[in-house]
Symmetry: C3
Subunit: 266 residues, 3 copies
């Protein structure tokens, strides 16, 4: 893949500064807001059913994350998601902890059945659960799949119509036909809370500036992974890593991304 395309998307995010509307968990929401700013987009967090339609109508993307869930929050997500669909605003869903509880599994399924999802980003276990092929989730961590990852991701993409982003040591991105592996990243990303959530925010920022959702997702994951590589050089632990990660994302240039994105086409 010509990584210059991804670099151009990064330039476009910074030029257009799309509004990324989040309905997300209260654990990592601050990092999500800041990662959105660092990539060059503008975050807005709003969950109340009374206002989400107005917000999403002027947004470039909607990010839904079920990390700290309540039935009321799902109602707000459904209202926002349907409004996003009617305004042709791409919806990113991060089904955090699907498989860990019935509430999470059912909420993810309800969102997928009632809202057209552009990007479905999760760890292997979560995507396995959503695909129906089975997956194990412990808390909010993947505990394994019952089929090979590619089959699971492809099946999930074909079933949902979404581009699936299965995060992992290599991130797998597929719309059911095209398959990309993004090999950027650093092991420390797995030792910091919120990196999955932040990746979904970035998917939103890039999905806002192109209709090619596979490329948008690849640009998001490669940018984040590349920032992780830079941050990993001097980090002494998860918090110095986090500081360096967000700073590196803020400083990431399109040229660096074009040169260092490691994308493999399957």
């Amino acid at each position: 893949m010509d990584t210059r395309i991804l670099a151009d998307l990064l330039g476009l995010v910074r030029k257009e500064r799309p509004l990324v509307h989040h309905i997300t968990n209260y654990v990592t929401v601050n990092d999500c807001a800041n990662v959105t700013l660092c990539i060059g987009a503008a975050p807005v967090m709003a969950h109340a059913g009374e206002e989400v339609e107005e917000i999403v109508a002027v947004a470039g993307a909607l990010v839904l994350n079920i990390g700290t869930l309540s039935p009321e929050l799902v109602e707000g997500m459904l209202v926002a998601g349907k409004a996003a669909n009617s305004h042709h605003v791409p919806v990113i869903l991060d089904p955090v902890g699907a498989g860990a509880t019935r509430l999470r599994t059912a909420s993810a399924q309800k969102l997928i059945s009632e809202v057209e999802i552009s990007v479905l980003k999760g760890n292997a276990g979560e995507i396995g659960v959503v695909s129906g092929l089975g997956g194990d989730v412990r808390g909010v961590d993947s505990a394994g799949l019952r089929e090979d990852p590619l089959t699971v991701a492809r099946t999930c993409a074909l079933q949902t119509g979404a581009v699936v982003v299965m995060s992992g040591p290599a991130d797998l991105i597929t719309d059911g036909k095209e398959v990309l592996l993004v090999r950027n990243g650093d092991p420390m990303m797995g030792r910091l809370s919120g990196t999955g959530c932040m990746a979904a925010s970035l998917c939103g920022a890039f999905a806002a500036v192109t209709t090619d959702t596979v490329q948008a997702s690849a640009a998001a994951m490669a940018s984040f992974g590349r920032a992780g590589e830079i941050a990993g050089r001097d980090a002494r632990g998860p918090y110095s890593f986090r500081t360096a990660l967000l700073d590196a994302l803020y400083r990431l240039t399109p040229d660096d991304l074009a040169e260092n994105a490691r994308i493999e086409q399957r």
Copy 2:
């Protein structure tokens, strides 16, 4: 303006350690708690209608921030705000996103009409919306005014009876008669989520130790801006800037503030 007055207020905050009661958003609440500690005051976050009256009765200031809003939260704010008024506890309102949705505009208006606000702090667009002269707000960012900032801020102050703090490259502070411009700060403050919220927390800390609300607001904005200048020297991006910002505020001395506060009287 004699900046020694502001320095003395900083000394007073550290001596009296006022309790600053926040009802605020879940995005930047951690930074608000820590900025309150760093300036030398004591934060407490409590939103339940069942307890806000007891908390505010012993507080030095009440900070209301509508950054992540729900109708229930506004109810808690109204209860707390009225209790604050009856106990002569100054109320700081940050109408985050007023103008972006009807819920936010109406909530800000309701709070202003039912609670006596001491300090109304917002970006230009938000203050414009609240003033009735018009303002544009995109998500939670200002997208411009229809009148000159000074006219808008003055009008807003005269209408609401509050000291208006319109944040920007220079912060404009007015009670409708006196006008101050605070020229401290660093461009990176606009690239970090939560700096506006943190400024409101600081306005609360200073409003707790003096009845001169214009001076309290100037001390808050100058202290924060001055810390930003120090932090901006070595920051490599928004997160190293944030670390340095809070550290610098913690280390800020009255003498440094007296020497470096850049306040212009209009």
Copy 3:
């Protein structure tokens, strides 16, 4: 006390990676998630009554923290706490602000009367209030006791059946008979929001790997305090301290803990 026991517990946390279920406040929740990861355990935050029983059933510990309270949240805590008891999952309670409002005092009392608590961790004022011997709490800070700390902590332990961890310059740990003082720590821990909450998370991580709750609590407080000592060396303020604190906890070795834990038996 042979500090090698504590070191072995740290090794066990890292080996078993227990799931620590939190129902906690929205102010410091991100730090709680990350401190749990840094010590080597796995955090999951979930508060909805619809899912807490499923989560806690597979958890190694449950941490309840009333820092930002609402009556609905207490309901979720009661459901989770009772399920934890029936699954023999240890429950850690941090009665943040008990004594500051009737809602907080009553909520703490209700949780203690309806749920069997393994570890009750609070500042002196909070423990005093819960013990019934009296304590003063200003916002979320201790403002003093009416009896000596040891009497208060012992009384509270005997009344509740919990191991009491009274945080302070030296942390006092007692089950009503055995008494330990943990003398590790750094003054900066009192100037950063959330250190109390993080300590409770660590108590959860250690309580998940041993039935000796006094030792688990000592290991948690000594690990955290030791990380604070390391972090305090170069910190320039609360935020650089926080970064260094979490990094140091992540890098803390059992050998360092065995060598530097300062535990006094009374």
